[in-house]
Symmetry: C2
Subunit: 105 residues, 2 copies
């Protein structure tokens, strides 16, 4: 089970990735796991939350737009994006948002 | 299955609600369904996406911070928030974010 990310005081950034998968794995599981580990090692990474129930929602948190841009351009991540387009996702949407306020229980 | 929300051109706002449930239903299912319907009828509501896989992530989209504030203060929603604290959630975090960019497949 994914944990709730332990993010710092805002402001920081969120990448909200919403998707529907295609049928079958086609290497998706291994690549998804690798991408989470790789993202977590990037400069400016703050945390990640993920759940799939038909619709998949993954929210990754970042210190800055610059950190998000660098991650998007990472060579191995680019290859995963290419395969995502080709094989793994029937549909997806990416939203980049500035977190302005945060509160918990 | 929840759909990907058909949101307009940014900017708009997202409320990212991440949670872990307590054991048992205790009226949660019915209230959750009612809250989605009620949220969708509020001024400034743009869409909602939801998935739970241990961790639950619900992202609702709104035209403005004002719309989010009004929804947070809605009497029936306040009662749901109270019960959420008391009964339904072991842990949660709410993040309010301004969506600056969006792209899809």
């Amino acid at each position: 089970m994914s944990d709730i990310a332990n993010t710092p005081e805002p402001p920081y950034y969120a990448v909200i990735f919403s998707s529907h998968r295609t049928e079958g794995d086609h290497g998706y599981g291994a690549m998804a796991e690798r991408m989470v580990a790789l993202a977590a090692s990037q400069p400016g990474f703050l945390g990640i939350e993920s759940a799939r129930e038909g619709l998949g929602i993954t929210v990754s948190y970042w210190e800055s737009l610059e950190a998000i841009k660098n991650w998007k351009r990472h060579a191995e991540h680019r290859e995963a994006q290419r395969l995502g387009h080709e094989r793994w996702y029937a549909d997806f949407r990416v939203r980049i948002a500035k977190v302005e306020r945060e509160y918990g229980m």
